[in-house]
């Protein structure tokens, strides 16, 4: 037997997240830049995350970086760009994906209170995770339970 998500919500049950539950993170390029990292060829995650990525945090999530517990409406963006290595330098290229973690403890209870989405090429209309968040995202993030499922830490 299958209930529509709205019915499940009325019953107070955690429904699988709908893609549309996670909005494109408008204005994230003006959020706090948390940190960056380069993932190079040969890395186990290169196929998925190769390139240079920057993490951006909205105001709500800054509380989470401080306390280790992220309040609802926390949003963290994983902004992945191509990286070109040439002449002993690595420079940024085209955007590959805008990954989003969006906290709503009730709505996303099945995945640690976080909804996950990716926007291919940064295009708000190209959702690349959709209903696969549990396997495509949370499977790895689950290991970070002690930091509320977030990998990155804040630095000065």
């Amino acid at each position: 037997m299958k209930f529509p998500a709205t019915a499940l919500a009325l019953l107070g049950l955690a429904a699988p997240a709908l893609a549309a539950d996670i909005p494109y993170p408008d204005g994230y390029r003006n959020w706090r830049h948390v940190k960056s990292m380069v993932i190079q060829p040969g890395h186990a995650l290169f196929d998925a995350f190769g390139g240079i990525h920057h993490l951006y945090a909205n105001d709500k999530s800054l509380q989470g970086y401080e306390t280790g517990q992220f309040p609802d409406a926390s949003v963290i963006v994983f902004d992945l760009l191509d990286a070109s290595a040439a002449d002993h330098a690595i420079t940024e290229g085209a955007r590959k994906v805008v990954g989003v973690m969006h906290k709503d403890a009730k709505k996303f209870a099945a995945t640690g209170g976080w909804g996950f989405e990716g926007f291919g090429g940064g295009d708000r209309d190209k959702r690349v995770v959709g209903k696969n968040a549990a396997t495509a995202c949370f499977a790895c993030h689950a290991a970070q339970k002690d930091h509320d499922y977030v990998f990155s830490s804040a630095r000065d």
Copy 2:
């Protein structure tokens, strides 16, 4: 004959910039992150700028990135961190220097309207450029005259 800088200022002449003319850029970590780059061993600038650097722009300078002409009070920060390459990834380390470009067309007329300073290790009390801006900074930036002496360009 030599005038003190204050006397030159009273006369309306461009005095060589004093280090103290360029304040430490308080709060720059909350400014717009413009772009990033990694400079690796073997690069001609490795000794000076090896590591991963991030550029941050204050609100005034965002106008400059759009128009190519930066208004007075534009400040751009070059935030240089150590970069560790291991296991096919490059991660950030300790801060090496906080470089600053501060626009004041009159005060810094001798160096393209920009004052330059560096804060060693990010320490506001460790000024590493001081009176050497012309040779330590502007000698290279002069080549960027067509972009108001700024190397970086904005991206989305």
